[in-house]
Symmetry: none
Subunit: 248 residues, 2 copies
DNA sequence: CGTAAAATGAACGTTTTTTATAGAAATAAA
DNA sequence: TTTATTTCTATAAAAAACGTTCATTTTACG
């Protein structure tokens, strides 16, 4: 069996089970133990898995986060309503920050006729903005695989040279006392920085994000206005902490 | 069996399976091992597949499949030769800068098994690197429409926090006295900065770029080594100014 | 036909990959 | 804790695959 084939097989096993035993891989591939050890070392160095005593374990963040594609076709209608409401807040001459995420991506088509400059940390957004010929700046930083966004310390540093009239952010959790939260700490840092640099910030969420708490704290509720399609009953408890815009 | 027929069969095998063993191809075609080796070398140079120890694997960079029956584009072939020569210079653990351009893009598939970190200012490169799961940092800056690259003063500032073991650059003009040149001053600034920050720099050009002068000066010839498919006669006059690597 | 160019297959030394093995480290059992 | 067992790393030997060269065959073309 070819090296590449073995590597593929190992990664497939890891996609199904969180941990895989050395013995299992040896049986499945028919290769010697030495060879599998070497494979595991190589795959670990390439960042595809983590070696543990007796085998290997998957390397993706334990914090579960549905992949970009999975997310995109859920709640399409809500996203568009939210995106439209957000776009209506943007006026000519503004400098706009667009965070990574499918909801913010949905804003782009509504921006085509506006004379604005956009800053983003998202690769898909940058591509879409390019397509719509909207003047764009991209924040530098480490490219995160699962969200195709630029994150981390370098991204924060790269953002500090800009100032925004308005920032639009996606978010995984919105909670009355815990505020805005998101799974990845490095993404949280970027979102937090965007809020700091913007005169006014908006968080775009569908109803499934309300009352949720994710791992990393981004900011308290008062730091941004919430734009959502959730009903007024659902958002009532948030209104005392910050402004809430109903996009329906 | 005719050469064309064999090539066709090999590509069909690769369309079905991600990797194909040498032995399998030999059996299927009835040709000798030597002949299949030659076939694989040719198909790799033409950019249709990637050779691996023991066989071949599909090439993901190739989005559309140009008919292999026609003589494949001469420049595509040259780009791949240059890209391969460049990739051979990259070792595990290196921090690598990849400039925007189609030649540098062609390097990416050859990087898959290397444990490296890449920095780039190109959106298409960032996407491809993401696909190949290579750890990537993106330089921030203004997004230029025509080249889908990040350029300008902000890009330069964003780069200054990095240091590279090696940088690979595309270039529009290479000239004995005028050095390296490119049309856009803002791109020239980025290229110049990359050269400053790298321990060693390589300029990747096919023969059509030699003896050409473009608008913006990037650096003198001695600042970088030239990798090209041009003949030794064509490159002779450059050898007195800087190192020249023949990729053929 | 006959010659030149291109393609093929076998041989051979070199490089890469795999396997086996022995001692160290980690885990489990006594 | 001490001992036994498993798993690990490092290294050397074996096997497989590689590129190169060259004689032979096939194809192209006058």
């Amino acid at each position: 069996m070819l090296t590449k084939k073995r590597h593929q097989l190992i990664l497939e096993l890891l996609a199904r089970e969180e941990v895989v035993k050395m013995q299992t891989i040896v049986e499945q591939t028919g290769a010697s133990e030495s060879t599998i050890r070497r494979d595991l070392s190589q795959l670990e160095e390439a960042g595809h898995l983590r070696r543990v005593h007796g085998g290997a374990t998957a390397n993706h963040m334990q914090i579960d986060e549905p992949s970009y594609i999975e997310k995109s076709d859920r709640f399409v209608e809500e996203k568009n309503q939210i995106a439209r409401a957000a776009a209506d807040l943007i006026e000519d001459g503004m400098y706009v920050y667009l965070d990574a995420g499918t909801t913010t991506l949905a804003i782009v088509p509504y921006l085509e006729q506006k004379a604005i400059t956009v800053v983003t940390n998202s690769l898909p957004l940058a591509n879409t903005l390019l397509y719509h010929r909207i003047p764009t700046f991209v924040v530098g930083g480490q490219l995160k695989h699962s969200t195709q966004a630029l994150v981390g310390y370098n991204a924060r540093e790269g953002m500090l040279i800009y100032h925004f009239d308005v920032a639009f952010l996606g978010m995984n959790g919105v909670h009355p006392t815990q505020g805005f939260t998101t799974p990845d700490p490095e993404e949280a840092l970027v979102k937090k920085t965007a809020i700091e640099l913007a005169k006014k910030s908006y968080v775009l969420v569908d109803e499934t994000k309300l009352d949720e708490i994710s791992f990393s704290r981004v900011a308290p509720l008062r730091a941004a206005t919430i734009i959502t399609t959730a009903s007024n009953e659902q958002t009532a408890k948030y209104s005392q902490y910050t402004e809430v815009v109903n996009a329906k």
